[in-house]
Symmetry: C2
């Protein structure tokens, strides 16, 4: 059956981005360090069109997160928006052939017609909140899973609303000291660790969210 999942890299001290995030540096100071383990993998490099990267347990973890995805949900910031009013000519910062290839539901307060891109990615703009996004994404995903890919606020909303079935944290052995936290404003969900994969670079912990 279709599940609603989320997979995100997080520092050992709980941050998914460093301080001083900006349009030029959306991960904030030090935020790239959270993703170094991923950059080193074959699966990530292949996804981004290069042949570099290592086969590894970390690579297998990434490959698994890309399997059987029927739809994505993302926040407006991740679609790509500046601080100013939203311009309908803006096509996101993923380029004309975004790396999704399935429907993507963007949480926003701004109504807008769906935006069809190359490679089977269509952005749908959802103004009815997380529940509407979950319902429409599940419908679109069919037997596939729905991935809530971020940012932090979108994942928090889904956790707090009880809409997430599974949360996988890629815990990087890094202390950022400050920045954007993931696990705030999430309520008190019942979490059950169901799978752990370890490498020298990162620890992947999968939690089932008990509904």
């Amino acid at each position: 059956m279709s599940r609603v999942t989320s997979h995100i890299s997080i520092s050992l001290d709980g941050f998914v981005a460093g301080p001083e995030q900006s349009l030029d540096n959306p991960l904030g100071i030090g935020g790239l360090r959270l993703h170094e383990w991923a950059f080193a993998t074959e699966a990530w490099q292949r996804r981004h069109g290069t042949a570099a990267g290592e086969a590894s347990v970390d690579s297998d973890v990434i490959a698994a997160t890309l399997r059987n995805v029927g739809a994505y949900v993302m926040g407006r910031g991740m679609f790509g928006g500046g601080p100013g009013p939203w311009d309908d000519s803006w096509r996101g910062w993923w380029g004309e052939d975004p790396p999704y290839h399935v429907p993507v539901f963007v949480l926003t307060h701004h109504e807008r017609e769906p935006l069809q891109m190359q490679g089977d990615t269509t952005f749908h703009f959802v103004t009815g909140g997380d529940e509407e996004a979950e319902r429409r994404a599940r419908d679109a995903a069919g037997d596939g899973d729905v991935h809530v890919i971020g940012g932090a606020k979108a994942i928090q909303q889904f956790l707090a609303a009880g809409l997430l079935d599974e949360l996988q944290l890629h815990v990087a052995p890094v202390l950022l000291g400050s920045g954007e936290r993931l696990l705030v404003n999430c309520g008190d969900p019942t979490l059950e660790p169901t799978d752990v994969v370890a490498s020298p670079r990162v620890t992947h912990i999968t939690y089932r969210v008990v509904r």
Copy 2:
């Protein structure tokens, strides 16, 4: 060779105690939830004189932390002190036969003669800071390990000063929302995950602190 290690239960959102800690409730609201995995184990129950508890990977993890300990280091709060001035007649809150059975070095600003308890536990009061505590504990431990058992501030000091060889986190699948954080004021140590043990109750991650 003797190592300086620390082992501590932590919530998934980074707290080692809940909010509103007090002498009556040193773990704060919800703080007991961090330790439920431990209470369920045979090793913990045996250590505390009961025959209950399950044999499990969690129990093995606890048993390993109790093996080969030559000395402990603890903060003054963990020795047991009230908010008022310290009275030398006060013998800590561990009873006359504390569960340590080796020398224990207490970080404090208050000079005091060593306090010999039953069962080979002697409390030594160290006023020269973390480096003096580390040196004296290593000397006392011989070939054994030195455990920095807490509280959070003692572990932070040791991490920040580069005095810790290994940090094991028992990550409980619990969000406390607020309370006392562990991984603040620790500097930016280089951490390398060296061992991960998983159970349905908790995830044990051991980090080598690269010196």
